[in-house]
Amino acid sequence: MQWASLSDFWAMGGYGLYVWGSYLVTFAAIVLEIILLRHGHKDTLRRLRRMRRWEEQ
């Protein structure tokens, strides 16, 4: 392992901004997609159930 300390790890040899900026945005994009996917599926089920109840009345 090439890291002497935690701050050494965060610094990324002076490229911390670029490396962590890349990983952070990638992580955020994936988390956002997962939230949207889960929300979308639950939302669709809820909406279709509501439509169905409305049709039955």
């Binding site: 790890f9 901004l17 670029y18 490396v19 990638t26 994936i30 599926h41 669709t44 089920l45 279709l48």
Partner: protein, 243 residues
Amino acid sequence: MAFNLYYYAAPATFYGLAGRLIPWFAWGSAVLAAIGLYIGFFVAPTDFQQGEAYRVIFIHVPAAWMGMFIYLVMAFWSAIGLAFKTRLSFMMARALAPTGAMFTFISLWTGALWGKPMWGTWWVWDARLTSTLILLFLYIGILALWAAIDDRNRGDKAGALLTLIGAVNVPIIYFSVQWWNTLHQGASIKPSGTSMDEIMLAGMLIMAAAAWFYAIAAALTRVRTIILERERHTDWVKRILEQ
């Protein structure tokens, strides 16, 4: 038992199959990403030319590959849908597009953050970068087209047509570094061999596998939602809604 393609091509059975497959792909992706990131940050050595900045490639290259590959899979399903009018094909194309757009965005974003310290600029209008930006615009254009057309069948066909026309851009992206004099470096992995350090390559390939698994899990989740929406008047969906 023989694998019956027509059986699983029916939305009703595919809905159940996808539901069972999603956890395997999702957890597989998480495990692969954990291994890939461990190798990428703790095993792979510092690059002798690029220092630590090269560690961006563990996401940049897999994201760029997925952006192109997902587009080709979309084009495949679009062609199948147009040729055979199979219902599930268009749904698969629609389910893949947002994830493909996301990976293309990530490849551009990470490329810019790598380019700034390495090339001295966030962006340059060279063939590789420009054709990748066109890929992102194609994804956005296709999504906008689907959103704009209320008639589902017309939307499916129009989107499929645009997807197929845009597919010509994918080989342009891939071969751009050979055809033109680009600032972007050439491929490190070729059929004739690789010019990368073995452990760096291993980390990158494991991250690529994680991206594959993730994309499959995301597309299957999205296609299930689309199937429910489109099949809502069928008995099997009504049974699910009553649960």
